[in-house]
């Protein structure tokens, strides 16, 4: 809470996508919320709306969320035309109402893509991401208790840090929702890069990149045309460099 400052309250109009289930036709519906504190998170504002709807006996707005601290990747709202809303480097749950003004109208939609069908209201089905990971997002090592010592292969700090930067992807899908082609290259590139940068990932590198990319295409994600919108909207700062690295890996794999 800010010192020396009066609390600011806002009245807002929300235009929200409502859709009963995957088969129903959706539509935008207007709602009003009042006395929203600037210190609320965006999802706490949505809680206020839902409490209001429940008390009136109406169906609350379904949305995905869990950790509410920007790490689980559940939350997924498309707010005023941007995945995760107007702030940079944050997920929907980390967005705060101080980014908005009294009297604003806020448009809230689900992440849209052919490969992310709507389940209900703002909840989408991201199991296409699961299937891409299942196609090769792993290193084939069994749990045995006699794996070689963790320090037996030194890894340069630089490579380890870079692998970590790629591994920070939370699988939210904002990159897909922001892309005019609904491409999943940033998401897939991040996983391919993490393993490509580590010695443990080398053995299966060629198969991995081929299989993951093939599955990505099969799921109906679009092509990358280098617009870079994904990188801008990615809450975890996953860099386009990962897409370039994936393309290089793919080239290597096809030689």
């Amino acid at each position: 809470m800010t010192n020396n400052q009066q609390l600011k309250y806002m009245n807002l109009t929300l235009k929200i996508w409502r859709q009963e289930d995957s088969k129903a036709k959706g539509r935008m519906v207007d709602y009003k919320v009042t006395e929203i504190s600037e210190h609320m998170s965006f999802l706490e504002m949505m809680d206020v709306l839902n409490e209001q709807l429940v008390n009136k006996g109406e169906d609350p707005v379904a949305f995905d969320h869990d950790c509410r601290e920007g790490i689980c990747g559940m939350c997924s709202m498309y707010i005023n035309g941007e995945a995760h809303g107007p702030d940079r480097g944050v997920t929907t749950c980390q967005l705060h109402m101080r980014m908005f003004k009294d009297g604003d109208t806020i448009t809230i939609e689900p992440f849209r893509a052919t490969a992310f069908p709507v389940i209900k209201d703002l909840v989408v089905d991201r199991s296409s991401f699961e299937r891409i990971q299942q196609a090769g997002g792993y290193i084939s090592v069994n749990t045995s208790g006699n794996t070689q010592d963790a320090n037996s292969i030194p890894i340069s700090k630089h490579a380890a840090d870079e692998a970590m930067d790629a591994a920070m992807c939370i699988g939210c899908g904002a990159c897909v929702a922001s892309c005019k082609n609904s491409s999943a290259m940033l998401f897939v590139g991040a996983k391919v890069s993490q393993y490509a940068l580590l010695p443990q990932g080398q053995v299966e590198a060629a198969d991995r990149v081929r299989n993951m990319v093939a599955q990505m295409d099969l799921e109906g994600f679009g092509n990358c045309t280098n617009t870079g919108a994904c990188e801008i909207e990615c809450p975890k700062g996953i860099s386009l460099e990962n897409i370039a690295r994936m393309n290089r890996e793919l080239m290597k794999a096809s030689i």
């Binding site: 169906d59 509410r68 689980c72 990747g73 299942q134």
Partner: protein, 670 residues
């Protein structure tokens, strides 16, 4: 029923090896005919599911999120302990074992903790082989940091996202098995009951959270790995969906619940800012390495801060009370979590809180910035550096160490913690209590196992930092796969478990009846209304400081609230659709029962130990005056509660704790 912890005979360091040498095994061909259900795919359940599938069992795994990668383990920041002794600072299996037992205030089972310390090194090897990008030093070797309450550096980490990276490792191992068809993954499914046939756990009833369909799943054994119950307080650092339903349901079917009152309240969380607050955010323990905790010395200054007539930087050094340094000169700001939390509460209760709600203390980095700045100036040979220069140099160091946490704080609070001290307050974080299990991690129900935060086992009355991740992965990768095999070796002739039996009918009917009630009850109040009320009772009377009178009234109030809930709760929507309010209703209904047992356990345990502080049990004089007083004569046992129709009617079973390898001692941080 007498509790049998099934601890193997022999010296502590040989128990686990001897045990593994003598258990029954299942041959690979037979494993193909055995099904195992794993409920929960966080670190514990995810690692168990992957390993059991690798061994050849057919695994069905369940999670309420849309992917195993989203379990709350993902949120763990700080790190994972392992006795690798890579730093050469004298670490060993014994030392990790000792630290964990002492840190837990001597309320855990020695044999289990020793085994945990023993397998800890394997965890790091396994994770590195999976491609977990742990932090490394310039020589390319793994780096370690130190955590509270110990004298060695044994914590492995991946930036401030260790839990995420470990979970993604377990998730990748699961994905490999899902692709091979050895794990069938049920995302967006919630377990609503366990099914017992002839005394053995044989399956579960689950709700498909997309369609609302009620499903039956059978198996030869069931593993519960559903995490902790901190959300009984409504506000906690847990995820919104974290719940006790699976654990509570198995408790009602015969699994004893152990030490429910052992809960960890973490000292450094971002304070509440208003009634709309939905969750609390942790600021890593590592901050206490450099931050100094204080409140004003004078009550008038505190009043001015509360009314925002004054800024913390207006208060001169001599008018600040660094209360941890004052009370605990030896450990200062690095006392264990339970001690730090209570001290902050004591100051705030006395009126010295520093924000509008009076529930916050400062965590100040100004001294650290200056100290680092001066050192840097020396290193760079700057003569008479200006104040600004020192600040800039120091700030850069602090930024390198804690930059992501400072940024997270600023995003939430909208204040720059480099310029003005952070405000922090304790919040519910972790539950040491949970389902009672024996050495095999089996509950008091045959064939029903419980692992990870959901069980009670290794942390006694207080958990040390970076030990929960270690426990979850130890259970799932290295312990359960052996112990469950011993049990399943008797199941090779059983054949597939049918689901069209009266036991499944009955369990499914019970589940449906309850869901129907929620939808059809035309009540007045939302589920959150009840959850918030429960949270307030728990926090006020069963929180950081407890007394008999408060606990007795908490039990009565919770019971009353529960009765009101069952009359007046209002749940919108339908059964056969995605319905988050309906999901919450079931979870809160279970918290309303668990909360009462929690208070009952706290009332029974008339001693202060670890996170459980009874005002009646404090040192009355001497150097430790006013500090928590443990009572080993009367309470050196695990309290395992048996369900008897109502939480208040639960029957206590004691597992006496024997300390053969570690001497019982009072903790001192003075």
């Amino acid at each position: 029923m007498a509790l049998n912890s099934k601890i193997p005979e022999g010296p502590i360091k040989d128990k686990w090896t001897d045990y593994k040498n003598h258990i029954n095994l299942v041959n690979p061909a037979n494993k193909r005919h055995i099904d195992v259900i794993v409920v929960g795919t966080g670190l514990a359940g995810g690692s168990a599911a992957a390993t059991l599938a690798e061994l050849g069992y057919n695994v069905k795994a369940f999670a309420y999120q849309d992917s195993p990668r989203r379990a709350h383990s993902i949120a763990a920041q700080g790190g994972i302990n392992a006795a690798k002794n890579y730093m050469g600072d004298g670490d060993s299996t014994y030392r990790l074992f000792y630290d964990t037992v002492k840190g837990g205030d001597y309320r855990s089972r020695e044999a289990n903790v020793y085994r945990l310390a023993e397998v800890s090194a394997n965890i790091i090897d396994q994770c590195v082989a999976q491609g977990v990008p742990f932090a490394r030093d310039y020589g390319g070797l793994l780096d370690n940091r130190s955590f509270g309450g110990v004298l060695v550096s044994r914590t492995f980490y991946a930036k401030g996202q260790t839990g995420q990276q470990l979970l993604l490792g377990a998730y990748s191992a699961m994905n490999r098995q899902i692709a091979r068809g050895k794990i069938e993954m049920f995302n967006r499914h919630e377990m609503l009951d366990v099914v017992k046939v002839n005394g053995k756990a044989r399956g579960i009833i689950a709700r498909n959270l997309i369609t609302g369909e009620i499903e039956r799943h059978s198996a030869h054994a069931v593993v519960i790995a559903t995490g902790g119950y901190g959300n009984v307080y409504y506000l906690s650092t847990n995820a919104m969906g974290s719940n006790a339903t699976a654990a509570w349901k198995i408790h009602k079917k015969g699994a004893f619940f152990a030490n429910p009152c052992f809960t960890q309240i973490h000292p450094t969380c971002i304070p509440r800012s208003g009634d709309y607050q939905s969750k609390l955010t942790l600021m890593s323990e590592s901050l206490r390495n450099d931050g100094r905790i204080w409140v004003p010395k004078h009550i008038e200054d505190a009043k001015s801060l509360q009314q925002r007539k004054m800024k913390p930087t207006d208060i001169p050094e001599e008018n600040r009370d660094y209360f941890l340094e004052r009370r605990y000169p030896a450990f200062g700001n690095l006392v264990p979590r339970d001690v730090a939390s209570r001290a902050a509460k004591e100051r705030c209760d006395a009126g010295f809180g520093v924000n509008a709600t009076g529930e916050a203390v400062y965590l100040d980095f100004a001294a650290a910035i200056e100290r680092y700045g001066k050192t840097q100036a020396k290193i760079q040979n700057l003569e008479n550096p200006s104040k600004e220069k020192i600040y800039d140099l120091g700030r850069a160091i602090v930024e390198e160490k804690y930059g992501n946490l400072f940024q997270m704080y600023e995003k939430i609070v909208d204040e720059d913690p480099y310029k003005t001290p952070m405000m922090i307050y304790p919040a519910t974080h972790y539950t040491m209590g949970g389902i009672w299990v024996d050495y095999n991690l089996m509950t008091t129900v045959n064939g029903l196992y419980c692992i990870g935060e959901a069980n009670f086992s290794e942390h006694g009355a207080n958990r040390l930092g970076a030990s929960a991740l270690m426990q979850g992965l130890a259970d799932g990768y290295f312990v359960l796969p052996y112990t469950i095999g011993d049990y399943l070796s008797n199941e090779i002739r059983t054949g597939k478990i049918p689901t069209n039996t009266p036991e499944f009918d009955e369990a499914e009917n019970d589940v449906k009846e309850r869901l129907n009630f929620f939808i059809n009850n035309k009540g007045e109040h939302s589920v959150d209304y009840y959850h918030k009320k429960l949270g307030k009772i728990m926090w006020d009377k069963v929180g950081m400081s407890r007394n008999a009178q408060g606990l007795i009234s908490a039990m009565a109030e919770i019971k009353e609230l529960r009765e009101d809930f069952w009359k007046n709760v209002k749940v919108p929507g339908k059964l056969d659709e995605m319905n988050p309010e309906l999901e919450k209703a079931g979870r809160v209904a279970d918290f309303l029962e668990l909360g009462e047992l929690f208070a009952k356990d706290a009332l029974m345990r008339n001693e202060s130990c670890g996170g459980h502080f009874r005002e009646e049990s404090v040192e009355l004089d001497g150097e430790q005056k006013g500090e928590a007083k443990r009572n080993d004569k009367e309470y050196a046992f695990v309290a395992a509660w048996e369900y008897k129709g109502e939480p208040s009617a639960a029957v206590l079973h004691k597992e006496e704790l024997e300390f053969k390898d570690i001497e019982l001692k009072q903790r001192s941080y003075k």
